[in-house]
Point group: C2
Chain length 109, copies 2
DNA sequence: TCCATATTTCCAGAATAATGGAAATATTAA
DNA sequence: TTAATATTTCCATTATTCTGGAAATATGGA
């Protein structure tokens, strides 16, 4: 994962509404949730939600597919995993021995 | 780690200069680096750096200690670990079985 | 005490992000 | 084809963040 993408992914989550949004989609699992349902759950207007959905989608952390009139959003776990790997790697590289910062079972990316 | 703190920590890293700053401090390890040296490395004015240092320090991801005329900044790995744990937990909770998203050796925070 | 160095705070301007209403688009059903 | 539903795009406003110069503060040395 490249530095620019990392910043974008972090920015996607670095805002209360969007973090809530992402967490909601993670809870829903692979079947995802329609935009209207998300708006209802989060208690925000469709327009505002659309702005945030677009933001998070750009980063790759969520994906969309149309189903009839609705558009279903769901979390993309792979991108989250890449983000976590990047952070783990950055957290650890200076002192692999002294911290419990690294997962010894997973090699750095 | 609480949702507000998470947003703050993510926001600390969701900006190119600050991500570079944090990575630089991770590279330096526990002995850290003086503000002036950081500014030189990153090629930014002291004022701008001070703004970003303050931002990241607020989140707890870095800490400062005075040494003579200089102020030495260093990465706080614990907070990064908490952040990673939070993300891992959020990434996994919907489908613990199907993904390699969780570290099975570490209990969720 | 006076000066040099390191860093911060203060401040104002520029840039970017967030919000939400109105109108546009896509889809389905009657 | 007309109407209803779901969502988005357009746009203007407000809010927040970023930037860097000038001045203030802290420290150590002559």
């Amino acid at each position: 994962m490249e530095s620019n993408q990392v910043v974008q992914a972090l920015a996607s989550l670095a805002q209360v509404t969007r973090l809530d949004l992402y967490r909601l989609l993670v809870q829903q699992g692979p079947q995802g949730l329609a935009a209207g349902q998300i708006a209802k759950q989060l208690g925000i207007p469709a327009t505002t939600l659309s702005f945030h959905l677009n933001h998070v989608q750009q980063s790759g952390l969520i994906t969309a597919k149309r189903a009839g009139r609705s558009i279903i959003y769901s979390a993309n776990y792979q991108v989250m995993q890449q983000l976590i790997d990047y952070l783990s790697h950055n957290c650890c590289e200076a002192q692999p021995a002294s911290s419990d910062c690294c997962n010894p079972d997973r090699s750095p990316t």
